[in-house]
């Protein structure tokens, strides 16, 4: 059997692009959303192995259900919502929760980024779940409070409160340098 990379090269030779359709599976969407899903999953579960499982599960769900989207933002929101829910489901399991708590984030984060970015990421990761997700969606994905509220099925007041408290904790952890 051809590997995916070989198949991709083979297909791009024929069609002149990297969009692959195998058994109805388009890998263009995988390339488009894989990093976003992985980042979101990592933010929720704070663990690379579980984030990878969630990444796989989200795409399984997408290809199985083949949902119809109104537009790009709807599509992105669907992926984010499913990823957050998958992450929360995973965290609900007692054993997973215990395992995640035992993980040494310092090592994980240091593998990913340089020293300063690592410090910021570590500070974000040390925040409680609810603040961490709100901070990630607001600052990285650049969603508004209203959009985050709709994504996480919470009220706007709650999200605003999470953001404010998360920011306060983050500044405290980073030594009050940021504005």
């Amino acid at each position: 059997m051809l590997s995916v990379q070989e198949f991709e090269n083979h297909t791009s030779d024929i069609h002149g692009n990297h969009t692959i359709h195998m058994s109805g599976v388009s890998f263009a969407i995988v390339d488009k959303y894989k990093d976003m899903i992985y980042r979101t999953a990592f933010t929720v579960v704070k663990n690379h192995e579980d984030a990878e499982d969630i990444l796989q599960e989200v795409f399984f769900k997408y290809f199985r259900l083949q949902p119809a989207f109104e537009n790009q933002s709807h599509e992105k929101a669907w992926f984010l919502r499913v990823t957050i829910n998958e992450g929360k489901n995973l965290l609900r399991s007692f054993w997973k929760r215990k395992r995640t708590d035992d993980v040494n984030f310092e090592n994980i984060v240091q593998q990913q980024a340089d020293s300063h970015d690592s410090k910021v990421l570590q500070a974000v990761m040390s925040l409680p779940d609810k603040y961490r997700i709100a901070i990630y969606l607001y600052y990285y994905e650049e969603y508004s409070i209203r959009e985050i509220a709709s994504l996480t099925s919470q009220s706007e007041t709650t999200i605003a409160q999470h953001l404010s408290r998360g920011r306060k904790k983050l500044r405290k952890k980073l030594g009050g340098e940021q504005k």
Binding site: S3, V4, Q5, F7, E8, M22, S23, G24, V25, F27, V30, D31, K34, D35, Y38, R39, F42, E52, L55, Q56, F59, F60, K61, F63, R64, L65, Q66, P67, W78, R81, V82, N85, K88, N89, R92, S93, F94, Q112, A113, D114, H116, D117, S118, V120, L121, V124, I135, Y136, Y139, Y140, R167, L170, R171, L174, Q178, K179
Partner: protein, 115 residues
Amino acid sequence: MNLHKEIKNAYRAIQVSDDMTERLKQELYQKDFHEEESETFIVEEAPKISIFRYVSFAVACIAMGIGIGVSMWNMLAKRNDNILNPSSTVPVEITATETTEDTKESAESIQNILD
């Protein structure tokens, strides 16, 4: 640098590696989604509630039911007891009707009669 830029930079470093992408595509390639398609009818977006929550809820309901049942049983039993045996709950107060002097007097009067 402000918090916004710092968080953006920090998160940018988290990416799916080429190996992981290859693995994911391989998994997706091997999976037959059409087979599973017929089994799925509802788009499941809401998080699932764990079995532990259901069990703890059921245990709490049973415990509450037992508690209410026992207290009602006790209340009814007490009520029936009051109706059937009213004296049983009335405190008996023993009052001294005769003093020792009275007893002495009555003893003397009996002795006098006998004499």
